[in-house]
């Protein structure tokens, strides 16, 4: 505990410098990965700059389909952020020791995913230069009437909570101190409720619009959560295996098993709710079902989304079948393929399959199709690259703090659990 004597105003800047140092250090694999991501992010930034300067006509959106790929990915990213909580709940509510060892990975994923979600909102703005109009006190924040202001609050709040929890744990580890539960446990429990809120509020953005029957469903928020608990765990399970492969960090098998269990249930609930929606729409018929008909079957000679949706449902059903077959459970390669498949399936279902049919057919029943432009794909790839960069660097620093590699000079590893991890 030798380092405990160093006052925080001296220790914290040193900590930040050390973090910067470690965040930029690595093997050639790390540099290659970051170089590729940087290149993609720069292409995205450049395309976005053109879009701001020349106008959003570079996208394929129109007055009929006024949200597209950006808002689709925004919605998906919010789900990914909320999905991280599926590590926090077993770790802190059920005292799952294995999960507790790796829970920071879920929290760091939430941070990266929120960065992406905010990025997708910013690139969707026609006038990002007027961003300050939304800052409470400075601009005019239309709270509590506008659901978008709620979303601004919950997303930024969730980012702050997770940054605090992760930052606090990493910093105390750095100082070789035992974290004080009073400084992080209340925030961990707050983050659980908050995770539910980010996806609920994001669903309310859409479900609160009476003029858009496809979204105007009370089932939207529950569906959002169910699918979030599919994609979050899927992404984390894949990440855990990469961590195991490329770092010295010990990933307990129990955590992966628990996440797979959660994912199986969430995937079934998600499919059930999808079936319930499809039944209601198709059996009732009429105008209310127009968007669903366009989405799954095509309408008046337009079938733009039909291949997307059937790809999505095929991947989804295939993945669920694999994940539920006992004989396939032990085959990690097959399981991993199923995880990638279900991740892609939900990305379609909750992305293009959710946003576009809200606008097609339009409120005056015009059928104006939409397919993202090259510019939109570039910007989208750029935001994803940014999110993956944040996630990579955060993991790198976070895991080094957990193993004790990131430690202040003179600070001792005084926690038994750490000794175990370092060994």
């Amino acid at each position: 505990m030798a380092h405990s004597g160093v006052p925080h105003h001296l220790s914290y800047p040193r900590f930040l410098l050390k973090v910067l140092d470690r965040a930029t250090d690595g093997t050639w694999r790390f540099y290659a990965w970051m170089f590729v991501l940087t290149a993609i992010a720069l292409v995205g930034a450049n395309t976005w700059a053109w879009q701001v300067a020349r106008g959003m006509a570079v996208t394929a959106m129109s007055d009929h389909v006024s949200w597209g790929l950006y808002i689709a990915n925004f919605t998906f990213a919010v789900g990914l952020a909320a999905g991280g909580v599926m590590m926090v709940i077993p770790a802190y509510l059920y005292h799952d020791e294995d999960m507790h060892d790796v829970v920071i990975i879920g929290e760091l994923l939430s941070v990266a995913a929120i960065v992406m979600a905010l990025g997708f909102v910013v690139v969707d703005l026609g006038r990002p230069d007027r961003f300050w109009h939304m800052i409470p006190g400075l601009g005019k924040f239309h709270w509590p009437v506008s659901m978008l202001t709620w979303d601004v609050i919950v997303l930024n709040g969730y980012l702050a909570i997770n940054l605090h929890v992760c930052g606090y744990l990493v910093y105390t580890r750095y100082r070789g101190e035992r974290p004080d539960p009073r400084w992080y446990l209340p925030f961990v429990f707050l983050s659980i409720i908050w995770a539910i809120s980010i996806h609920t509020v994001t669903a309310f953005l859409y479900s609160g619009l009476g003029g858009r029957p496809f979204w105007n469903s009370a089932l939207l928020a529950p569906r959002f959560l169910a699918s979030a608990f599919v994609t979050g765990p899927a992404f984390i399970i894949l990440s855990l295996q990469l961590v195991r492969r490329f770092t010295a960090f010990k990933v307990p098998e129990g955590a992966i098993r628990r996440l797979l269990d959660i994912l199986r249930v969430a995937a079934l609930v998600n499919l059930f709710m999808l079936a319930a929606e499809l039944f209601t729409h198709f059996y009732t018929g009429g105008h209310h079902a127009a968007a669903v008909r366009y989405l799954w079957l095509g309408m008046h000679g337009h079938h733009e989304l039909v291949p997307w949706m059937w790809t999505s449902i095929t991947l989804n059903l295939g993945a669920v079948a694999v994940l539920l077959t006992p004989s396939l459970r032990e085959r990690r390669v097959v399981t991993n393929a199923a995880l990638v498949a279900i991740f892609a399936a939900v990305w379609i279902e909750k992305g293009m399959g959710l946003i576009v049919p809200g606008f097609v057919p339009s409120t005056l029943h015009e059928l104006v199709p939409y397919a993202p432009s090259i510019a939109e794909w570039k910007v989208t790839a750029g935001v994803w690259a940014l999110g993956l960069m944040v996630f990579t660097v955060a993991l790198k620093v976070g895991l080094q703090a957990m193993t004790g590699e990131l430690r202040a000079p003179g600070a001792q590893a005084d926690l038994a659990v750490e000794e175990k991890e370092v060994a």
């Binding site: 450049n46 053109w50 106008g55 007027r130 924040f141 506008s146 609160g208 003029g211 057919p361």
Partner: protein, 301 residues
């Protein structure tokens, strides 16, 4: 890792420098921003917070910017609502022939983008005997009126309970005391949430800087209505408030060759609109949504 710290740090600094230069290059298109915005625009306050003097300064600046960007001298006024006036609009579907002159009049009056032939009005060709918009068609291209069809122009319904103003995160759009829903084009951040919320397809987004030849610009402009809109913001029908608040009629009404359109102050017992609302069996679009439109439709029979 620790053997050659100085070399490693030097390489990192080099990498960071290269990254920063690449980032600066990537964002270089933003240098064109002075085509669409200015320092004055960036710092401007919300419409409802501008004092008289500040408003006048803003109007002069906007006139100068129009002169610079479009090469036309225009007058931009701030036309305020009159107390005791509540506007409403009614449209006689029995006499509308679908000629779309209202669409064109709107296009000209409101300084819309020329290449896209933008307008706040869409006319649906409907099948007689049905109010089903799914059977409607806006892209009709034949002599009108066609046999077995009737025509239904749709524009902003100026709802009393507008879903669009509710969703705006920055209060860039609101309902004026005379019932007209307006947008502060210099406050809108372009999120298009209002466009998603509107059940009547009444809102338009400026996907690019509006193009309009100097000679075709209508120089009689107002801040909240027909001045040339900036790129990246939402706009909508304002019942031509720069005309109607001064006792004139909307451009779409004046252009109508059949007299299908009736407009006025519902609080005036002698107005035409009052007569229509009292004597015709009027209806509104999508009444079930509870938006309470101020735009009414009726058939003559």
């Amino acid at each position: 890792m620790d053997e050659k710290p100085t070399r490693r740090v030097a390489l990192k600094v080099l990498g960071a420098t290269l990254g920063a230069v690449a980032f600066e290059r990537a964002l270089s298109p933003l240098r064109e921003l002075d085509n669409i915005t200015s320092v004055g625009d960036f710092l401007q306050k919300h419409y409802r917070e501008l004092s008289r003097d500040e408003m006048n300064a803003v109007l002069r600046r906007l006139e100068d910017e129009t002169q610079q960007r479009y090469g036309r001298e225009v007058t931009i006024r701030d036309v305020r609502p009159t107390e005791g006036v509540q506007f409403a609009y009614a449209l006689n579907l029995s006499v509308c022939i679908g000629c779309r002159r209202c669409v064109d009049a709107c296009h000209v009056e409101n300084n819309h983008d020329r290449p896209t032939h933008q307008s706040y009005i869409r006319v649906l060709e409907m099948t007689s005997g049905s109010m089903d918009m799914e059977q409607g068609n806006v892209g009709y291209d034949h002599t009108v009126p066609a046999e077995g069809k009737f025509y239904m122009p749709v524009q902003c319904q100026q709802c009393e309970n507008p879903p669009c103003t509710k969703v705006c995160p920055v209060e860039a759009t609101w309902q004026e005391p005379d019932g007209i829903v307006v947008v502060d084009y210099n406050w809108c951040i372009g999120c298009r949430y209002c466009e998603a919320a509107c059940p009547y397809h009444a809102r338009r987004f400026n996907w690019h800087k509006p193009e309009i030849p100097a000679a075709e610009i209508n120089p009689d402009q107002s801040y909240l209505s027909n001045r040339i809109r900036p790129q990246g913001v939402v706009e909508k029908c304002t019942f031509c408030l720069h005309r109607t608040r001064e006792g004139r009629l909307p451009a779409c009404l004046e252009a109508c060759p059949t007299g299908a359109r009736v407009f006025g102050n519902v609080l005036d017992p002698n107005s035409d609109i009052r007569w229509v609302l009292e004597n015709k069996r009027v209806f509104v679009l999508k009444e079930e949504l509870g938006t309470r439109p101020r735009f009414f439709y009726f058939f003559d029979v």
